[in-house]
Symmetry: C2
Subunit: 159 residues, 2 copies
């Protein structure tokens, strides 16, 4: 989803809730959906720094509060891909899409994928235990084979 579409979704949500469209909320949303940035699962701090580059007055708290709004209206999902990561990272969401993650334990590289066969099996499992699935999370940790994969012990994850 483009940043323009995301803004539309956000503004509709704000209107419906009687909240206000502000320059800060627009800017943060634009940064979050910026194609140069989108794939990075940014933390609040990442977002804060990029936002400050465009408007030096935005506060940390505003970024937190805006990300909470984006989550509420379905435009973002909080993630914790590396179980040792302490900060929450955010992923842009497009309604109807879903993907899971492959995370390289060496370089931190993240690949998103989707697999219908796995999802069908998940349905079977859930049914067997009397659960109605709302959603799921799946992360596979391993070692990637990128030529530029270098050990980054601090990269996050020992899962």
């Amino acid at each position: 989803m483009t940043s323009t579409e995301a803004l539309d979704v956000l503004e509709a949500y704000l209107q419906r809730k009687g909240l206000k469209t502000t320059a800060q909320r627009r800017l943060i949303t634009e940064v979050f959906f910026d194609p140069r940035f989108k794939k990075d699962h940014p933390s609040v701090d990442d977002l804060f720094r990029h936002v400050r580059a465009q408007d030096a007055n935005v506060g940390y708290a505003t970024v937190y509060r805006t990300m909470k709004l984006l989550v509420e209206c379905g435009l973002a999902s909080p993630r914790q891909l590396g179980p040792t990561d302490k900060e929450t990272r955010y992923e842009p969401e497009s309604p109807g899409e879903h993907h899971d993650h492959l995370v390289c334990l060496d370089c931190g590289h993240i690949v998103e994928f989707e697999n219908e066969a796995i999802e069908a099996l998940q349905e079977d499992v859930a049914r067997a235990y009397g659960f109605a699935i709302k959603e799921h999370r799946m992360v596979i940790y391993g070692h990637c084979t990128r030529t530029d994969c270098e050990r980054r012990p601090s990269a996050g994850a020992h899962p």
Copy 2:
């Protein structure tokens, strides 16, 4: 794995590392592997309270430090099943075993399961992207059908 077996694993690990076996480390490990407790994915605070019931002098920091040791020697895994939970919870591990989780969004009930077909498909996915799998995490969120399932909005997870 029984608490006795766990203690053996821990002591072997401590010895190999030149570390010391102490009463506190033994007690915390026993509590963590106590069958009455095992299934509960306890937080450090849960453990701390049960440990204090047996020895009123143990400090919070010691529980943290000991859980870190248990993770290092493979006896425990840190989990964050409800993405809104802030505290880390721990799950007892037995080498060679693996299970994933079903979490009820209403009552917080957790079911552990294992599914080889899903794991086989994960291998396929990883191979397709050039990843060698080390391990994985899968959590399915939904609504359970237990008769005593009651909405616990604070129960944890809106994933």
